[in-house]
Symmetry: C2
Subunit: 371 residues, 2 copies
């Protein structure tokens, strides 16, 4: 070892000379960032490839001296292990799949999910994972979500914002990969969601406290197994001793202003019109408010409106929407953390549903009921 270190130190200074020659030959002062392989590094160190690999990966059977020397040389040459080669051997890619199929078509521009995703991505990166979006139309050949995941060898998947009834999603969930879902609970799988029960209860109570009694609620996803929000709304109303006429609880679609617009029109046409309407979400609320304005009604003087999500952008518009803020950062972060745990400690990590508190934002769109 001692001699080989000496040799490599010799080689090292030789390299320096070559390097400085290069600097003069092409007129750039930076070393060309061509990828250095472990083989070149081992040659530069005067050690075998295996030893270099061990030194870099903290194996116990290399001397401290060698370890440091290898590390230093690696740093000097700008060596970065090829993620590809490493993945091939390790069977891990340090890539997380993100299934983000948005039926409403907003994709990455989705008001609620894109900040969630941003937080997920940040936390994933902090833990050394890159993310890969999962689709089923890669190039010319179709593949299912699961096939895409296996093709790219992602270490785990986060399922966000999609049709949870889709057979392809079910296939993915029952597949071999660790899965975390957001806003939907699958049996025996981990999930992160807002505490929608509490959130909706708080919102409803707030609206009640302003004196409203005729409150309508437009439900987002009809198909959703857990329409916790409307359940919570109904329960809170019942507890307040108010019964909700059947026509006050209507079905619509999440994140779809046009749909909300239609449904709102129907609500406005009712004989006993509600004094307040709870929209499926902030974005949909915009559609609802449009139809209210179109009917010549003022918000909140003639009718009150509440949203859900707490889209920051809308908090800067007038009138400021009364809504429930979902903690997108906490949701995304928790999902990434959970998924990393499921991947890294599959034995000791248990499946759970993580509930993130949300917060009422009393804006300007819920006022007193008209006299």
């Amino acid at each position: 070892m001692r001699t080989s270190v000496k040799n490599s130190l010799l080689l090292l200074s030789f390299c320096r000379i070559i390097n400085s020659l290069n600097r003069f030959s092409n007129n750039e002062s930076v070393v060309l960032p061509v990828a250095v392989t472990i083989k070149e590094l081992s040659a530069a160190c005067g050690l075998s490839v295996s030893t270099v690999s061990k030194a870099l990966n903290d194996y116990p059977d290399v001397s401290q001296e060698t370890r440091e020397f290898v590390r230093a040389t690696a740093a000097r040459l700008g060596y970065r292990p090829s993620a590809i080669a490493r993945s091939l051997k390790l069977g891990r890619t340090f890539n997380l799949g993100v299934l983000y199929a948005d039926d409403s078509g907003s994709g990455l521009a989705h008001n609620y999910f894109s900040p969630v995703l941003e937080a997920f991505k940040s936390e994933a990166e902090r833990r050394g994972y890159d993310i890969t979006f999962i689709t089923h139309h890669m190039g010319s050949n179709q593949m299912t979500y699961l096939e895409h995941c296996l093709y790219r060898n992602v270490d785990g998947v986060c399922i966000v914002c999609c049709d949870f009834q889709d057979p392809e999603v079910l296939e993915l969930v029952s597949g071999p990969l660790p899965v975390v879902t957001i806003d939907h609970v699958f049996h025996d799988h981990s999930c992160v969601e807002s505490d929608n029960r509490a959130g909706m209860a708080e919102l409803t109570q707030y609206i009640l406290s302003r004196g409203h009694r005729r409150i309508a609620c437009i439900e987002g996803s009809a198909a959703s197994v857990t329409s916790v929000r409307s359940t919570s709304f109904l329960r809170t109303m019942r507890e307040a001793g108010i019964d909700v006429p059947e026509e006050y609880l209507v079905q619509s679609v999440y994140h779809n202003p046009a749909a909300a617009r239609q449904v709102t029109e129907r609500l406005l046409a009712l004989d006993s019109r509600p004094t307040c309407i709870i929209m499926p979400d902030d974005y949909a609320a915009l559609g609802g408010m449009e139809s209210i304005r179109a009917a010549g009604l003022r918000i909140p003087e003639d009718i009150s409106v509440a949203g859900y999500d707490g889209v920051p952008l809308l908090q800067m518009c007038r009138p400021r929407l009364t809504t429930v803020r979902q903690d997108t950062v906490a949701i995304g972060t928790a999902a990434a953390r959970k998924l990393a745990h499921l991947i890294e400690q599959p034995r000791i990590t248990f499946q759970e549903t993580i509930s993130i508190p949300c917060q009422l934002i009393p804006g300007e769109t819920v006022g007193l009921p008209p006299a």
Copy 2:
């Protein structure tokens, strides 16, 4: 060949039996989606690995018969080539890096860039590429943008929405990878951008046509080499024979309502207050409008405001912002297409700046100047 096909047909039916046995042994009716390797496939076909590979990759020297047989068997076994192993040999990953470092902190939730990115992603996927976000804080160890790209072996990079003066960005641009930028031109590199000159000219002319003469313009990026928008604004004003006082052209930051708010306050405090303010972008306009409202002024009766970008969400708010819509879909799509060309036909693809037309949206925030 003929015999080997016969053999493999025999083997095939044998496999079917095994398979059906499996179906009975574990009580699931689907075949476990464990990744099938080319080796297993070759065994199932009774052919060598090379032949199978050739059959799948459309090499000329396999018979039509064999090709179809291999394809069919592959489909039956659910074989998918491992992207990892293929990348290792080919030196290509079919992954595109996306550098999306947003100083304003909105990340994926950015109002203008996230739809651009969505379009980029869609087009990339259509062409068989996945995308990988490039950062410099992967896990515990820092790396530069270029290092991250080399580590993940992306085939090319799209640079969006970042500080184009950052030395790391410059390193990436001068690196060995094909690069396409959005909204910033580097010499000898391809770029996609809105035709901001025409867009801003149209906006300015529109404002002039409403009778405004005292028009202020808040510039987005001070550092930007090509502050085309403000140049175009000034030129249009000059052509209309109006000279713009120095204090009407002010610096701020893109996508930052708070900054716009401050700057707007200063504009409002001027002795000869402008009758119309052009904001850096729609989102910043929200901040500007806030400070206008805080000053007790009405929009557009007392003062007019224009944005830039055409964020769809804001078009659903009242008052509807007068703005210039950037064609995010065309921009993202063009960028992906260009990058794919640069990767796939490096010789015959030339570097160019692609200019996408944008469109004036006459909203409600630019009215007549107060009398």
